[in-house]
């Protein structure tokens, strides 16, 4: 509304002349944020040959085992290597990259190691400023390193191995090879109580956690049906629909604009999250906010499934208060150059529209998120 005021329009005209748009994102490809690249690689930006891609993505798991220190060693290369693995969350990839930093480090004191790690995590964070879970994971690991002071250990080497061990444990949280430890498994189990027979669940986009939840419900012989939004422009919803159909779950695909139309029949909404912020709100794929608004106005519960490593010390005040994650949008027809395209890939849903968050720390109300964050970081 503010841009309607006369004074603001004048300000804007002035500013246009002297302020050039600065891009603070050091990512080499400014059109597509790195965050989105990872996402696209993991979830498969669905095109006509989406099946083939999905197949490739779920192919056999081969973990690269670096034998010698690559020269020159770069934490970003290491991170990129890990993040190519489809089941691995970005946060875990970051932690593994930092673990590699520790492994190859030539530091001889804890202080040196800490400084090296700090530099590495800073470069990781600045490599992709738009990814929330990457930033959160780096912060979390740094927190762990600084908190477990070297004084507790008798010598430096055991401290080092302790840190690496810790990083591995963290990695296992999201690793599918260790289902008992997996955060997703915990979340899936927690959410089973909320899925009742005969319910209709609306799902937006493709989230591995949400898929795990639905899969477990199907395995428990619950009777439910799922509405998948299409998830333009990546059509991630189509992929989820396909996966669910394989499990014999009744699925219906909606176009994104049919959410309000279908909301009558829906009993609950399930979404994942890219990041859970300090206010208790979530940052997630574009369209989550409007679904939350519709669900809120029709008094339908909205549940968020998110691992605790997505908790970030951010506090967006409104939609524009985030570093936008830019993505390409294919409209199928050429768009005149004068027409602007809103290409942000995600939005912020304020906490008052969320009912509950399912995390590996338990089922939380949005206001508890800040409690957890305070205990983690302060």
């Amino acid at each position: 509304m503010w841009w309607r005021s006369a004074s603001f329009i004048m300000d804007r005209q002035q500013n246009k002349n002297d302020v050039a748009l600065k891009d603070s994102n050091p990512n080499p490809n400014p059109k597509i944020s790195a965050y989105y690249e990872t996402r696209a690689a993991h979830h498969g930006v669905v095109t006509t040959d989406w099946l083939a891609q999905a197949q490739a993505a779920t192919g056999p798991d081969h973990e690269p085992q670096p034998q010698a220190r690559p020269d020159p060693f770069s934490v970003i290369d290491e991170f990129n290597k890990w993040r190519k693995q489809p089941h691995l969350a970005e946060a875990v990839a970051a932690i593994r990259a930092l673990a590699a930093v520790i492994r190859w480090s030539e530091a001889s004191t804890m202080m040196q190691l800490e400084m090296e790690l700090k530099k590495a995590s800073d470069s990781l964070k600045s490599w992709d400023t738009t990814s929330i879970s990457l930033t959160a994971a780096c912060d979390l690991f740094m927190r762990y390193v600084t908190r477990t002071s070297a004084l507790e250990y008798e010598d430096f080497n055991s401290a080092k191995s302790r840190l690496i061990e810790r990083a591995h444990k963290f990695g296992e949280i999201s690793h599918k090879a260790f289902p008992v430890l997996s955060a997703r498994k915990v979340i899936a189990m927690l959410s089973q109580d909320f899925i009742f027979d005969g319910c209709t669940i609306l799902v937006h986009g493709f989230s591995r956690v949400v898929f795990q939840v639905l899969k477990l419900a199907a395995q428990n012989n619950k009777l439910f049906r799922v509405f998948c939004t299409e998830g333009r422009p990546d059509r991630t919803g189509l992929r989820l629909a396909n996966e669910l159909a394989k499990l014999n779950v009744p699925v219906k695909i909606l176009i994104d604009s049919a959410v309000a139309y279908a909301m009558d029949e829906v009993d609950m909404v399930f979404v994942g999250a890219d990041g859970v912020v300090e206010s208790g709100g979530i940052i997630n794929m574009m369209g989550t906010y409007q679904i939350a608004l519709v669900a809120h106005s029709m008094n339908k519960p909205l549940y968020v499934a998110a691992e605790s490593y997505k908790f970030a010390r951010l506090y967006p005040l409104d939609q524009k208060d985030l570093a936008p994650a830019i993505r390409p949008i294919d409209f199928g027809v050429p768009i005149p150059s004068k027409v602007e395209v809103e290409s942000s890939a995600r939005d912020y849903t304020p906490p008052q529209y969320l009912t509950l968050l399912f995390t590996d720390l338990g089922v939380l109300t949005p206001s508890v998120v800040s409690d957890e964050l305070i205990q983690l970081y302060l």
Partner: protein, 539 residues
């Protein structure tokens, strides 16, 4: 004040002075109550050392009242519910009586009460205005000090209830500053002090030589409070702490007394003096609580000199870490929310908000500032003058226009006097209105507040706890001779002037609270209190 004292004493079992920890210590130090009138000439001292009636010092952290059932209890029947008119009449009568018996102290009551058996009941105070935080009586053995120390951290300081006649009567007799109460008291706010403005100062002056036991630095600060020289939560708190520092430096333990106990009672007497000058803010209550806990936790091995030095440096640390550094951290945090092209709205003057604006301006952010102001204080004019001098582009408007101006605003930055554990923000009157309009326009509201101002109490409305300003200030318009309709009407019976100083903003209207612990949702205030209150005390 050593006029012969009447001793109504035990004949009045309705009131049991709640004896706080200062008193059980003094029980060992002070002479027996019977000798008191002779040995202690000054009434003031007794206020401090003898008993603590919470009505005298509402914000004292030590003042604990534990709720207790009052079934059969008092030999005297409970005060019957009277109508407001009746109570007013009664009050008038009492006031007259008070004027007659002005010189009499009430100390004897308290002392003999204390000597009386431990178990006695204080009648729960009856209020007209609203719920009270502190009511009921305490049943405390003089011996359970450690337990009490624990409790004093948890329990909120009681608010004095100015419509509780018997208590006020006693408090008044003891008070150093005895202002005249205004005639037309606003019904809903009878539990708050409503005085004729300007009577405080003259009263202090007339009693100047009776104030002998108040340290000059404390006296100065107190008088400046009541004159309105020092305003703003942080400034008041720092001034108070500095005065305490001076007082502690000049303090020497009297013979046959223990520093820990005697100094605490000294501080208590200073606090009650401050309260008489102007109601303490919540943040000052927290600071006092800190000082007292430092005194209580002094190691016994310290010599007097060491103890005093330790206390002074503790107070210095509190000022530095909890106020000055906290402000710097808040500025850093809030700065991240200021973007180029923003229009920031602020209401009244908050020194943190001003620091944020200056900092963002220095770092070259391009933004506009809207300063909303309101009568009668018009504090915003000073702010706008300073901002304009720095070359910021500013808009100045009154609160009447807030709904017009709000649609071009992108962020609302507000200060706070206190934040309560339900997220309610207690701030300059008008803040609630600005926040509500901002909420309706979907403009994010940022509350900038140091964590030492967080308070574990729950506040639901602006009535229970508030401060009333000079009613004349709203009746008169400075510089407008033609607006004089209310000039001599203040004494009319059917006209009541209400000049509230603070209001409560519900947490729904607050998007974020920026504190030294980072940016938090209002729901996290109790978490900060839970995790860090102890640290506040121990630092």
């Amino acid at each position: 004040m050593d006029a012969p004292r009447v001793t109504p004493t035990i004949a009045d079992p309705k009131i049991r002075r709640v004896v706080f920890f200062a008193s059980d210590s003094s029980a060992t130090v002070l002479p027996q109550p019977q000798q008191l009138p002779e040995t202690h000439p000054s009434g003031n001292r007794h206020v401090a050392s003898g008993s603590f009636d919470p009505s005298e010092n509402p914000n004292l952290a030590t003042a604990i009242e534990k709720k207790e059932e009052v079934p059969q209890s008092s030999s005297k029947p409970l005060k019957a519910k009277t109508t407001k008119a009746e109570r007013r009449a009664l009050q008038e009568a009492q006031r007259a009586a008070k004027a007659a018996s002005k010189g009499e102290g009430s100390k004897a009551v308290t002392e003999s009460d204390r000597a009386a058996p431990v178990k006695s009941i204080k009648q729960s105070s009856e209020k007209k205005g609203g719920p009270s935080y502190a009511s009921g009586a305490t049943d405390k053995k003089a011996g359970d000090r450690p337990l009490e120390k624990d409790r004093k951290k948890d329990a909120p300081p009681p608010q004095s209830q100015f419509d509780d006649k018997s208590r006020m009567e006693k408090a008044r007799k003891r008070a150093a500053v005895n202002p005249t109460e205004s005639r037309n008291r606003v019904e809903l706010f009878q539990h708050l002090p409503q005085y004729e403005h300007g009577t405080k100062l003259s009263n202090v002056e007339s009693k100047f030589f009776n104030l002998g036991l108040v340290h000059p630095a404390v006296l100065e600060v107190g008088l400046r409070y009541s004159a309105g020289d020092i305003s703003g939560g942080n400034a008041r708190c720092i001034a108070m702490l500095r005065a305490f520092q001076d007082a502690i430096r000049d303090y020497c333990t009297p013979p046959e007394k223990v520093l820990v106990r005697d100094l605490t009672s000294k501080i208590n007497s200073y606090v009650s003096f401050f309260t008489e000058c102007r109601l303490l803010s919540m943040s000052m209550g927290n600071a006092i609580r800190f000082v007292k806990s430092r005194i209580v936790n002094l190691p016994l091995s310290h010599s007097e000199f060491e103890a005093k030095a330790a206390l002074c440096s503790d107070i210095d640390r509190f000022i530095n870490e909890k106020i000055i550094l906290a402000d710097k951290v808040i500025v850093r945090h809030a700065f991240t929310k200021v973007k180029d092209g923003d229009v920031l709205l602020t209401y009244g003057v908050s020194c943190v908000v001003e620091m944020i604006l200056l900092y963002a301006h220095e770092l070259g952010k391009k933004f506009r500032v809207v300063v909303v102001d309101s009568r009668p204080r018009l504090e915003g004019q000073a702010l706008i003058r300073r901002l304009v001098a720095k070359g910021m582009s500013c808009t100045y408007t009154h609160i009447n226009a807030v709904s017009y101006i709000m649609h071009e605003v992108t962020r609302v930055l507000l200060g706070a006097s206190a934040v309560f554990s339900n997220g309610t923000v207690y701030s300059r009157v008008g803040t609630s209105c600005v926040a509500m309009v901002a909420h309706a326009f979907r403009v994010p509201v940022l509350i900038c507040c140091e964590a030492y101002k967080f308070h574990e109490r729950v506040l639901l409305d602006s009535i229970c706890s508030n401060e009333l300003g000079d009613p004349d200030a709203i009746a008169k318009v400075a510089g407008r001779m033609d607006v004089n309709y209310l000039n001599n009407r203040a004494s009319e019976d059917n006209l009541k002037l209400l000049n509230l100083m603070y209001d409560a903003t519900p947490s729904d209207y607050v998007s974020v609270i920026v504190t030294d612990y980072g940016m938090l949702p209002p729901t996290s205030v109790p978490i900060i209190i839970r995790e860090y209150q102890r640290e506040h005390l121990l630092l």
